[in-house]
């Protein structure tokens, strides 16, 4: 989600909560010598608030599974996820008094830090990458359709070249350089994968073929450019969504371990 001026209310609310929590922690924290911070009423309060925020943040995934339920706009949930999820970290730190504690709590703390860090990383990516995609990929298509679009491009290029009766340089260029690139665009050392190299290659080829073939050459260059954009789209799409592979499972683990910690701490 893009972090813009529409987030101001959430920024103010989160800042206020953080400031209040910080003041409470500074003035009412339990000295270290008197025992752990987490077991005190204030510490418990921080723990409950922090874990509640974590649960709320975790519920975003569930909310997305039921898009038509009228349980609040998805963007409101997302804003809550971002700001309250972020707020969970200082609250849990206040809850633990900036100490890791035992093995479980240490693991929880590490998990929380990783989850929050990956979330911030994801938020930064989602803030910038859509703009990059919009700017760099005017021919962007639906991600799931990329394979079929590639197949169409290859077929179209084959058709264009097959329609040419005699043009040895173009046929050779196509069979040795362009077609291998269209068949396997992600392979290493594809000279046409770079925009500048491709432009130079096509410019050179233009001097070798008769003018009546320049239109065909233009079509092939466009196909090459579209293929390059598809490759770039795949890369950006992976960047945009791959961090979730870390963020989501760790969040689930955090919630499960957090629940176990809460039960154990309250019961024993």
């Amino acid at each position: 989600m893009r972090i813009d001026s529409t987030h101001k209310p959430w920024l103010w609310i989160s800042s206020t909560i953080l400031a209040v929590a910080l003041l409470l922690y500074v003035f009412f924290r339990t000295p270290r010598a008197l025992g752990s911070q987490g077991g005190t009423p204030l510490g418990l309060g921080f723990g409950i608030a922090g874990f509640t925020f974590m649960i709320f943040a975790g519920l975003l995934g569930a909310r997305k599974k039921v898009p038509v339920w009228r349980v609040g706009r998805a963007q409101t949930w997302m804003r809550g996820h971002l700001w309250l999820g972020l707020l969970a970290l200082p609250l849990i730190l206040f809850h633990g008094g900036f100490h890791l504690g035992g093995a479980l709590t240490s693991a929880l703390m590490v998990l929380l830090i990783v989850v929050v860090a990956s979330g911030i990383f994801g938020a930064v990516l989602q803030h910038y990458l859509p703009t990059v995609m919009t700017r760099e990929l005017p021919l962007e298509t639906i991600y799931e359709q990329i394979d079929s679009v590639r197949a169409q491009l290859l077929a179209e290029a084959d058709e264009r070249v097959a329609a040419i009766e005699s043009a040895a340089p173009l046929a050779e260029f196509y069979s040795r350089r362009l077609r291998p690139y269209l068949e396997n665009p992600s392979a290493r050392e594809q000279p046409l994968a770079g925009a500048d190299q491709a432009q130079a290659a096509f410019a050179q080829l233009r001097t070798l073929v008769p003018p009546e073939l320049h239109e065909t050459l233009g079509d092939l260059e466009n196909i090459c450019e579209e293929e390059r954009q598809l490759t770039r789209q795949v890369q950006l799409h992976h960047w945009l969504h791959a961090w979730l592979l870390l963020h989501v499972p760790l969040s689930l683990a955090l919630l499960l371990l957090g629940a176990a910690h809460a039960i154990m701490a309250l019961r024993y």
Binding site: M1, K64, Q75, P130, T134, I142, L240
Partner: protein, 717 residues
Amino acid sequence: MIELSIDGRKVSVPAGTTVFDAARINGIAIPTLCHQQNETPVGVCRVCVVDVGARVFTASCVRPVEPGMNVSTDSDRVRAARRTLVELLMSDHPSPCARQQHSGGCELETLAKLSGVTKPRFAPRGSSRGQDDSSLAIAVALDACILCDRCIRGCDDIRGNFVLGRMGKGAQTRIAFDNDKPMGDSSCVSCGECMVSCPTGALTNKFVVSTALPAAPGSEPVAPEELLALPLFKNISGTFLELNQRAVLKRHFRRGEVICREGEYGSTAFYILEGKARVSLSSPIAYVKTQGGARGFFSKLTSALAGRSADRREEEGNQRSIPIDAPVDLAYDNPVAELGPGDMFGEMTCMNFYPRSATVRAETDCTMLEMLRNVLDILQRNKTFRAQMDETYRRRALDSHLRNVPLFAKLNPEFLDHLRERVELVRFAPGQTICRQNDPADSFYLVRLGFVKVSENYPGGELVLAYLSRGDYFGEIGLLGGGPRIATCTALDHVEVVRICGEDFAEMIAQFPEVRSGLEQVAQERQEANRQRMSLVRSVPLEYFLAQGLMEAQSLLVLDLEKCTRCDNCVRACADAHDGVTRLVREGLRFDKYLVATSCRQCRDPLCMVGCPVGSIRRRNSLEVIIEDWCIGCGLCAQNCPYGNINLHPFTVQAEDPGAPGRQVATVRQKATSCDLCTEHAEPSCVYACPHDAAHRVDPRKYFAPLLGTGTGAAKS
């Protein structure tokens, strides 16, 4: 009797006989092109020149004999003069012309061959005189015309139709239909007399591909003589029927047999000769309703079929009958009707290739004529047939047609009887103007068949204000205000309108004040809507905005691409809200940083409405597109939508078994759906489900105002 000598032979003929006829009677052939025995001679081609000993040669077809005249028809000088004339004509004639190619029957080319003219010495005309392909039956090739006037005399003197004449002067002279209209748009009745009269390939029968109907079981060809014996074909050209024999078949249907099914595409019309047929709709009378979300907090949305009686939508129409492609309308409550001998159905399908509007089944053993478009076109131009169809319409459909218009529902039977005798059924060809902006308003029109485009001209072009279909009316604003027409109405396809002249209209509104007040209210609303649209057109200068059709949209689903993470939650939400059938595709054209998603735009120029065979897609007063419950699922609206925003939603319903009439079986039927804006909710599901604040349903003119420099709005570059 007058005595004269022709080529040395003494002959005697009655006074007043032409030299041409005198020679013919005595077995002396004089070649000619412009003259036919059944037409008044005019002597324009001069090919029949003879030497009568005068200062110049004379055209024998117009020169009366004189006592003692010494005529030479075949001297060297006469032959040379005739040869030069033929050569001049041939220099301006495409050889071989269409007639020569088809039958070798071009009289000019035959004459040229006999005269030994192979390659004219004279230069041909530099530019083509053009051709007219607008008639379904006759091809006009002006390049092959030798201006012999045989067609004009055939049309005027023999048939008395007075459609053909000459237009232009000197080298620009040509034959023309009415006041130089394309033949297909003219008042030509396609009798074929001009085509039969033409000596060259200027007017020929169209040998259109697939003018033959495929032989089907229970079908038999019909001889032209048999057709001409039917009242339906009275005054139709026998030559035309001869040339189009296989375009009409006699079909026999057994009781219960399906003649045509609703939603199927076809290209023929049927005329019932014997027996009865039942017309019905097998699609459920129900619209696709999204339901569930409003009932409970967590309840899921589903799509279901709901009828007007079960769940009346806001601004639901109160139409009491469903228009179909037959001389009767179907009652909304019981959509079944009976057709009998003399009835014709399938005209719209045949003329405009629209899907069949209803299912027709033989009620008894039936015999019908099934005909192709070229034959139906000839029939529709025929005065006898038109009188017959007019009579059927006035008798059976005018009442329901008028009463279907809510404003006219209160007209009393006496006035309807009065109108019945006075209204006029007028037919228009595709593209023909019915009334023009700024012309004096003299009539009120009700659309009986086809689609009418209402548009207004402005300095930058033309703005489409509305598309009108069967049951709609126009022309009231000019009549009520007493001023000129405020818009141009054009036939989009083959259109038939009921014309009520200004006097009858004035009488009607004087006699029924409620009709007047209703019409005035509608006129006021239409004028206001038109004013708003025109002001928008003038205020939006960006060509790109216009090129994408965004100007025409009332509500766009736009995705801010700088916020959208391409997670597709919007698409999933739409599919979840509509039983897995999404009405949104996250692809489309870009405008600035916005993606205009593929989802109904509620266009101001709703092309989707054009062609609906049962008129079930319309606009609410809010201009929102709504699909009525009698949609037959033919899919034409989905095809017509230029943005691919209409989908077909399959439902399993109980419907009559085609193989066993009367038995109900589970059948999959389709209903057209477009984005309904999830009207059950305050916000469309796609927008509601977007976690990134990227999806918005917007009025493009307001939203994009900052980008267009026309005001303040939400969009920022």
